[in-house]
């Protein structure tokens, strides 16, 4: 979704047709857009998408029809879940170092993989959530297959969410309206997402690669910290960028999508952190894994349910075997937080936040490196295990990346939000001139990075 072709050719044609189509045919245009984008990435992607859409539609209808037969209802739900989960396992892969689910268990990659399909992480979860909600009687099943398919394969969210709930979007699905206010806001979000990806995430990724290429034994503590900060920013901004782009396109087509990131680095503990990082994923895992599992209110059971939820959430990011270690780390931290909760309450918020970030960064190498040994070496170097004097690299890194690091920090904390509020609530007469100018500036900036940066896209989601 971050390419010249998408921004300059797909988007105007799609939006033009979508605007002309009128509310009745908008879902057809929307699905056509999904098909075109999927074909563009890999033609075979349509197969799992169709299977998941059709099965969700059929099972949704069946579940509703057998609403009073509890066992039959359950059977349909389980069947639909099995189809979606198997699609997830077979086709999901984040291309990052070709890690996939099988690799977690077998240690070998590329073994059972058929091919990776864009959006598998999203449309399968949509399918499960849709059927489960019908089963619980929270929503009615959708009678139109087109609308169900549009919800299941909602292309703006396909890269990495936000994950949607059918009840939040069903009104708009039936009557998608576009207005100048929504369009303008959508363009703003879209361009902001592009800037986050192309400027912030990519620069941070390059910095991380640069520091990563240095031998761990000659890496100073300061550099190791800067490196892992760069990694966390790069990861965060990449996911946030695609979520913002999704929200932008959503708004342009009339859908108000939930925000996926709520300043996670400002949270005062891991419990809060996982709620604020990829919010919609947290809610999905809570509602469809954690809550059903610990219905009995058994404390032991709920602990296991929590561990399982964390593992599933970490696996969703698709980084292979290392996610297990990282999930274990998060679980450990959550456990510690639970045990020490009386002590933690006393600590002022700002200190708690600082502690959380330091601990998080200490654990992050487990996620960043494919094997645990390297990660351990890196963590050691964060404590200054390297023996050498005179640190030229850190001076160079600070000289070349300080500005970008500061910008990233600025938008990751509340300061960015505060400034944004100030600008948007400024004198409206000035805003008439300034806002469009800022948007044009953003557009030019994005184009410069798209055209000038070449085809070589770095990051986690490619």
């Amino acid at each position: 979704m971050v390419s010249i072709e998408f921004l300059y050719f797909f988007l105007p044609v799609f939006m033009g047709l979508y605007a002309i189509a009128g509310t009745r045919f908008r879902s057809v245009i929307f699905l056509l857009g999904t098909v075109v984008l999927t074909l563009w990435l890999s033609p075979w992607g349509l197969v799992p998408m169709t299977v998941c859409s059709v099965s969700s539609y059929v099972f949704g209808r069946l579940i509703e029809r057998s609403a009073d037969k509890k066992k039959l209802k359950k059977l349909w739900l389980v069947l639909s879940a099995v189809i979606n989960v198997s699609a997830f396992v077979l086709f999901f892969r984040s291309n990052y170092l070709t890690a996939d689910i099988f690799q977690i268990f077998t240690g070998e990659s590329e073994n059972f993989k058929i091919f990776a399909v864009w959006g598998t992480g999203v449309f399968t979860l949509h399918g499960i959530s849709y059927c489960a909600d019908i089963c619980r009687g929270e929503i009615d099943s959708e009678h139109s297959f087109l609308l169900t398919a549009q919800y299941i394969c909602f292309f703006p969210c396909m890269t990495c969410g936000p994950l949607l709930r059918f009840r939040d979007v069903s009104d708009t699905l039936h009557k998608p309206l576009i207005s100048s206010a929504k369009l303008a806001e959508g363009i703003k979000l879209l361009l902001f997402g592009y800037v986050e990806k192309l400027l912030l995430s990519n620069s941070m990724y390059e910095l991380w690669e640069h520091i990563n290429s240095v031998n761990v034994n000659s890496l100073s503590a300061a550099c190791a910290w800067l490196g892992i900060i760069a990694f966390s920013f790069s990861f965060y901004y990449e996911y946030r960028a695609f979520s913002d782009i999704a929200r932008g396109i959503g708004l342009m087509t009339g859908f108000e999508l939930p925000e996926n990131f709520d300043q996670p680095f400002m949270s005062g503990g891991f419990n809060e952190f996982i709620k604020r990082f990829c919010t919609t994923l947290y809610r999905w895992v809570r509602d469809y894994v954690y809550v059903p599992l610990c219905r009995g209110k058994n404390e032991k059971l709920s602990l296991w349910a929590m561990f399982l939820s964390v593992f599933i959430a970490c696996m969703w990011f698709g980084f292979g075997r290392r996610t297990l270690l990282f999930a274990a780390f998060i679980c450990f931290m959550l456990g510690m937080e639970f045990i020490l909760k009386r002590v933690i309450v006393v600590i002022p918020n700002i200190l708690r936040c600082a502690f959380m970030n330091i601990l998080f960064l200490l654990g992050l190498p487990l996620f960043a490196f494919p094997d645990a040994e390297k990660a351990a070496g890196y963590i050691m170097s964060m404590f200054g295990s390297a023996k050498f004097s005179g640190d030229v690299l850190v001076i160079y890194v600070i000289k070349t990346s300080a500005v970008m690091l500061l910008i990233c920090g600025f938008f990751a904390t509340n300061i960015g939000r505060f400034v944004k509020k100030k600008i948007t609530s400024a004198n409206s007469n000035i805003a008439v001139v300034v806002v469009p100018l800022i948007e044009i500036g953003f557009l030019l900036l994005c184009t410069a990075f798209l055209v000038g940066g070449g085809r070589h896209l770095t990051g986690f989601l490619f």
Binding site: L7, L11, P12, A184, V214, V392, L393, S401, L443, T447
Partner: protein, 365 residues
Amino acid sequence: MKKIADCLTVAAFFIIIVMFAARTLLFGKTAAANETENMNIRQKTETYVDGNFPLSANWKSLRTTMLVMTGKNEFDNVYILQKRLVDTSCDYDKEKFLESVEDINKFAAGTSAQTYVMLVPTAAGIYSSQLPAYAQDIDQRELIDRIYYALNKDISTIDTFYPLYSARSNYIYYRTDKKWTSFGAYYAYAEGIKQMGFEPVALSNYDQEYASDSFYGNLYSKLCYSRIPADRVNIFRSKYQSTVESVELYSGEQMLTAKSVYFRSALKTSDKSNIFLQGDNFTKATVKTTLEDGPKLLLVKGSYANTFVPFLTPHYSEITLVDPDKLEEEGKTLSDTVNPDDYDQVLFLYDCDEFLETNNFDLLK
């Protein structure tokens, strides 16, 4: 009021996008069919858009300028040093270069001609002290020593690092390209030719001719950073009669003859440094001179050799250049094109980066 701002934003956004898209689609040129032969639709579209999106140099320039403002000075292994672009990318593989060395040893043992090897450092090697630490994986001086050491004793090695390093304040490398200039080639020649048994022609015997003062090399076209000034392409004109009699360039089935080693038609193209023997576009080139009793030289060339050849013409009766990369493309070996035993001397002339990348010396048989 907000509504006006919104409408303006939306209108501006779509007008700009549609304008550029229309410009790309309506006035674009499709790439030649043979270039896009093996591509799928997606790759074809991408090549088309890359080639036809308007103002592409300006976009690049904007991006580079923005990033330089944030303090960045490295773009894909190309560093911006005050007034110069230096490419540090190099694919160092110990096994590979030892194989190349082995092939050269084998070649030298199998031929009666005396073999010389001349490895030239690139700008990244000469100006390494200006580059940040960790910018390079290898020290080029050390690398050249290591390669020279691994070569057989009967192969003569020619040191170019020292003469180029002493001349580093001169204009020895292009600022915007990886290649060396005529000056760089001259300094290496002035030292190296002594080892090959000749007295170098003194600098005072040459007039400088500036063939072009607006050369932007391929490093520049990656970044389009406007603070880097254009390069001059200069050629050394002998004050006396030139010794070159005829030049023949062979490429595949085609042959091109000329009276000079300088091909001025290249000045009209984007790569003006191709004025020297048309760049790397031939498999074999024969330069014949008026010195009928002079020795004959076979030159196994990397791209640095073209600039070097004009300095050799006063010493040899015939210089034959062979490009192993082109041999590989045409599926030939050296013996299909020349017989090394017809020559008195054989010279391998490569820059460090190209030597490390090359793995086709096994075609020299």
